[in-house]
């Protein structure tokens, strides 16, 4: 039973469909206490449905969900006291001030933080008496996270916490998440930002069409890529696919618009060969770039689509 009690969140065989769409199609996840776990996937992958089922807000069609060794069916009130939630796209009341909003949420919990202290921690103390409607996007999002943290939860659920935020606001939010973890908290977040997942999460589950397609630490996932480097180029005229696949060490290629993307074992071997192929064709190189493979590349290689606009 020790194994069970070390888990913050677990689900087995989770399924949910809306009319004819299978939003979640047999998902198994286990998240340990103190872990930061990321659900990564494009829009429509089933991330929000999954996290809202785990939050006890959306009923599931099949599967078992256990949160802190409890179930929503038996211990809803107890669980509500112990988890903090930031939903995607919640608009808090525009007419209330920041401190009024936070004090309201504080009143729902038996124990929790002092609202003014939390505002200081989240750098919102200057906006203490401002109406929520007057806040910037980043400030609103930090207030939403403050409302999730006010009950001093054991688990923090964040659904796309930084979508649409400017870089500075994203950094501030990452900082908030890091401090919550430093206090021993468990985090489950969804995102479609690679860098966010790589930077914040201990482990990542990549989901697409309601399926788990990869699971592991960011390093393990990148290591799963059959080739560690990526070459992107465009030429005039285009090269054919068989000409590109002929490059030594090429593990695969994808065409996106005018550009070809190659996954290769070694840049030192592949780049000169590619130049040779372009010359042989009598074509002109227009653009060329190379980088070490990221999670984004893993997703592209596994699905043939990009995360952000898939």
């Amino acid at each position: 039973m020790t194994e069970v009690s070390n888990l913050a969140v677990s689900c087995v065989g989770l399924k949910k469909h809306y009319s004819d769409v299978r939003a979640v199609d047999g998902l198994d996840l286990s998240i340990g206490l103190g872990e930061c776990f990321g659900l990564l996937g494009p829009n429509g992958a089933g991330k929000t449905t999954t996290i809202e089922i785990l939050e006890g807000l959306t009923p599931r069609d099949a599967g078992d969900v256990t949160i802190l060794s409890r179930t929503w069916e038996h211990d809803e009130r107890e669980l509500r006291e112990r988890i903090g939630i930031s939903l995607q796209e919640t608009q808090l009341s525009d007419k209330l001030t920041v401190i009024e909003t936070l004090t309201l949420f504080r009143s729902f919990y038996r124990r929790g933080h002092e609202p003014d202290e939390l505002l200081r921690d989240l750098s919102l103390d200057e906006k203490r008496n401002a109406r929520v409607g007057k806040l910037s996007g980043g400030q609103k999002q930090r207030l939403a996270v403050a409302c999730a943290l006010i009950g001093n939860p054991d688990i923090l659920f964040l659904d796309e916490p930084t979508t649409g935020l400017d870089p500075q606001s994203r950094l501030q939010l990452w900082d908030v998440v890091a401090r919550f973890r430093a206090g021993g908290g468990t985090v489950l977040l969804t995102t479609h930002y690679m860098d966010e997942a790589e930077r914040l999460c201990d482990r990542i589950a990549i989901v697409d069409h309601g399926h788990l397609i990869a699971l592991g630490t960011p390093k393990e996932l990148i290591a799963k890529l059959d080739a560690p480097f990526i070459i992107e180029f465009t030429s005039e005229p285009h090269l054919d696919e068989n000409e590109i696949r002929a490059v030594t060490g090429c593990r695969g290629c994808t065409r996106r618009g005018d550009a070809w993307q190659l996954r290769v074992d070694s840049l030192a071997v592949a780049v000169p060969q590619l130049m040779g192929a372009i010359d042989a064709r009598g074509a002109k190189l227009v653009t060329l770039s190379t980088h070490a493979a990221t999670l984004e590349d893993l997703f592209v290689s596994m699905t043939g689509r990009e995360l952000r606009d898939a």
Binding site: R80, I85, T90, Q91, L96, T103, F105, S107, F108, E114
Partner: protein, 345 residues
Amino acid sequence: MPEPRPPIVELTLARMREFTREPEAIFWVFVFPLLLALSLGFAFREKPPDKIPIGIVAGPHANERLAALRASPVLLPRIVSEEEGKLALRRGKISLLVTGDATPVYRFDPTRPDARAGRIEADDALQTAAGRKSIFKSTEQHVSERGSRYIDFLVPGLLGMNLMGTGIWGVAFSVVNARMRKLLKRLVATPMRKRDYLLAHIFSRIGFLIIETVALVTFGWLVFDVSVNGSLVTFSILCITGGIAFTGIGILIASRARTIEAVSGMANLIMMPMWICSGVFFSYERFPEPVKPFIRLLPLTALNDALRLVMNDAAPLASISTQLAVLAAWAVLTFLIGLKIFRWQ
């Protein structure tokens, strides 16, 4: 650290703050009913009855008839050509046309009460001028007591209508707005008790109800001399019960609606029959007898009837128990059904 206040208190405060920070809401709840009472009060203010316009066809007897009819305080005679007179009669500019040579002939539409009254008055004036003697001398007593004027009927009706409108709109809009913003979903993701959220709407409504009722009653008293003749305790119990009944209806209307349009349509659909049937501007006594029991079960009818009894006839609490029971039934049933079928997401 100060002890946090209970959620029901914080929710009620939040609701009151949201409301008072909405300038449009202040206008519709507090200013609009006063403007409505003012304009209607003046339109139906007490004034001497209009004189009945009468045409006399020009001819040999026209001038002596004019003099005789002018002697009557309720007639407004003038001499017209025959053609002109018929046209004026047809267009309703005069109620009666006097023609005929030696003996008068009265032309009028007998379905019009003022034409019939004009015929009796005109004939009486002409007979008297011709020398008829009254057999006895009768006297008149004119009645215009407080409590029996139109404004005494109107002010309680407006108060009831206002409590209905603000109860239903105030709650329905706020709930649907919170649902559209996914704020309801966010709230149920906390340990908040769902019934606290709905009760907070009722409590904040009671707060505003007191302000709007005091404003309207004071206004009616200062401007139109309409006062609460019954006990203020009975009056308060009645207003609060009525307010809660309409808040319950507002919760029920808003329990499933996902858009402002849907909730507006539903609110109008529910309020329309009561605007017409529940005796706001005119008594529902004119409706056919078989439908009256149903009209009396409408919450606004119960509230208006009881308000008039308390304000005009100084009725004690016991004599409005039927109406209070109707209102309480609406309050409890709508709240429980609304809570049961409420859509939180």
